[in-house]
Amino acid sequence: MTLPGADIVVGTLAVAAVISAVLVVVVREAMRMALSLGVFLLSSAGLFLYYGAPFLAAAQVFVYVGGVLVLVVLAIMVIRRSPDGSPVLASRHDPVSAAMCAMFAAGASWLLLRDAPPRGPMSGTSGSADLASAFLGPMVVHMELLGALLLVALVAVVAISEGERR
């Protein structure tokens, strides 16, 4: 994507992603956490679009925003509530943990950037045909395993629900 002002777009998406991720980690109200998670997932879908992966961006919106976020809201409906009736989340914020995570992020960034190859020319956007060629070609085993994984997950969810009912 070589639109004028693309840097502004990716900068806005990055800032939105970071702020919403921080909100997911620190807010106490469960619904605000779910809304922040939704903003984070939409921002990351925008980043996928910016980096030339439109199918992945669409999958992110459909699977995460449309599926996982609904699951999160459903789970919020059954969790503990505060005396005023709003669902709350317990946290134990620790400055040492925050410092360790910041050091980890800085160290991993340094390690990745130290051996980073020189920036090459931006390639074109990969289309669904390239994705299909990859999934039906060298990654056909991955695709079959994904189908099996989804089936196992579905059976597991049904078994958990049935076990609870008994």
């Binding site: 699951l71 943990s97 990859a134 629900s161």
Partner: protein
Amino acid sequence: MSVPVVLCMSLFGIGLYGLLSRRDVIAVLASVEIMLVSANVLLIALARTGSGASVADLGRVEAVGVTIVVIAAAEAAVGMALLIAAVRRSGRQTVDEFRQVRG
């Protein structure tokens, strides 16, 4: 190159902090989702901005990204089902209360 690396590692660090500091299972799962998505964004961004990546390579990397999305969705579905079952059965919803598992 440096912007996506720093961005994604920052997001991963934020998710890691949420994993360590949050007590509720639902918030821990949300933090894990942040870590998975940040790794996925980094994968796509590195393939896009790395040297000499062709469109076919991008398609292959995007297929790996879709694989990660599907695995994350399956993990979230099973995790939420376990959480709802645990809360309904015993009223427990924080990771501190899950000190033992039963086979």
